[in-house]
């Protein structure tokens, strides 16, 4: 079978992107920079983490979705590294099924990295979405939970109030907005930091302005800035983890974006009157033929 026209174009696109991924521009060029030149968002998150007391209890509300998780995964892993290195203990809870699956995987990864069980706790899945969050305020410990983190939560009342911070990891189903509305209003003194995919940025930015969120990383560039700041200290990776699991290759991102600009531009030019373009015939005519 021989590829022609569109097939060749897609193959070429794949090849270009593959080259971009393989040739990691972070080490080959100073002309590219994925990290946001304005580090304010990254700095806000790091300052919030730095203000945590020694051996702080941090609740990680893991509700990302599988579709957009790839975008925020490097940022989240950097944040978990950052918190653990600062001496925090992490308790994971999810109110979505996909979030629960991802939380289980991340907990396993942390254990594989050598993180002690004494600083990790799996609070599991809580059904009921927003209603479940409200119930967590009063009691977050599942039956049979044990260990130092569980003891510390129990000593603090057993609910979310026992934590010194909440790290909100959002996705399509349940996002940080729900946590701010349901939990933040009940525990206004509890700092909340959100990591979310880019599409949630306009929705979450107002909460940062009002102070309901102490920090927000909701774009790839802000995530890259933060990850670089953490990596500058030291970054822990599993031996079989790809190096590129950190912020994505800026060359690949640039190539993809340039291709997008080219394709969109071509469509736009083609739509202008008097210019030949790729615009197809009306769908009705297509069906008739």
């Amino acid at each position: 079978m021989r590829l022609q026209g569109g097939g060749m174009a897609w193959l070429a696109l794949l090849l270009v992107l593959a080259v971009g991924v393989i040739v990691d521009a972070r080490e080959t060029s100073d002309a590219l920079q994925l990290a946001n030149p304005d580090p304010i968002r990254s700095a806000q998150v790091r300052e919030t983490f730095a203000r945590l007391p020694a051996q702080a209890l941090v609740l990680v509300a893991m509700d990302p979705d599988l579709g957009t998780y790839a975008e925020i995964r490097p940022t989240l892993r950097a944040a978990l590294d950052d918190l653990l290195r600062g001496g925090a203990s992490l308790a994971f809870v999810s109110v979505t099924a996909e979030g629960r699956a991802i939380a289980a995987a991340e907990l396993e990864r942390l254990r594989d990295l050598g993180t002690a069980d004494e600083v990790l706790l799996d609070l599991g899945f809580v059904s009921g979405a927003e209603a479940g969050m409200v119930r967590l305020v009063g009691g977050a410990l599942p039956v049979g939970a044990s260990g130092p983190v569980a003891d510390a939560i129990g000593a603090g009342g057993g609910g979310i109030g026992a934590f010194q911070m909440v790290l909100l990891v959002g996705g399509i189903d349940i996002g940080p907005r729900s946590w701010v509305e349901q939990v933040g209003t009940r525990l206004p003194a509890l700092p909340m930091v959100a990591i979310a995919p880019t599409f949630m940025q306009p929705e979450l930015a107002p909460y940062l302005r009002t102070g309901q969120l102490a920090g927000l990383l909701a774009t790839v560039r802000d995530g890259a800035t933060y990850s670089q700041a953490v990596a500058a200290d030291r970054f822990v990776l599993l031996s079989d983890e790809p190096r590129g699991d950190r912020p994505p290759s800026s060359l690949a991102v640039l190539l993809g974006m340039l291709i997008a600009v080219g394709v969109l531009g071509r469509q736009l030019l083609g739509s202008l009157p008097g210019l030949e373009g790729p615009v197809p015939a009306a769908p009705v005519e297509e069906e008739q033929s």
């Binding site: 579709g67 059904s127 409200v134 560039r221 736009l268």
Partner: protein, 205 residues
Amino acid sequence: MRRSLPAALVVVVGLILLLDFVLINPTVAGLADALLELIVLLAAAAAVAGGVALVLRHWTDVVERRRDPPGSLVLLGGFGLMLLAGLYPGSGGAGGPAVRWLVAALLAPLVAALVGMLFVFLLVATRRGLVLRPRQTTVMLVAALAAIVLLLPISGGAGTWLASAAGWANEVPIGGVFRGLLIGVAIVTAVHAARVLVAIDGADD
């Protein structure tokens, strides 16, 4: 009467939860806790019922060879595989190694690939959009192009300027429009809910 019963239930439950939010009263707190527990149980039951209904529907499709039997078979197979991996004796449930492998090796890449295809689907849609609604689609394409150009990952002075322009675009026009939409949706929802509660409209039970 049929119309007013669900509305009355919603009003009563809503008022109790609202009272619990603004008052510190053990009786109200206990009542609100019980209601929340009931809601959580209802949500869990609804999820199980949804799963059962999905299986029955696709099982029927396979048996009666309706709609898309191969697709239904794949869905049933995936459903069964995940249940098996999570429920076999000694399994750790959602945190069990088999479930984690299925999620990490199959589910996550598949869903991420589907989301990654959004750009391709968007392109196909814009081709049709340019035929059907050329002006609106052109505006959308120009906005998309501008957003992409502002986010180009380049360094130096140009990169800094683009990044600050992107920040401004996020904060001002995009943020403003989005917040306006959210406020509008909230107002419409509140008005509609109030109309349903006072039985002016809605409630087509």
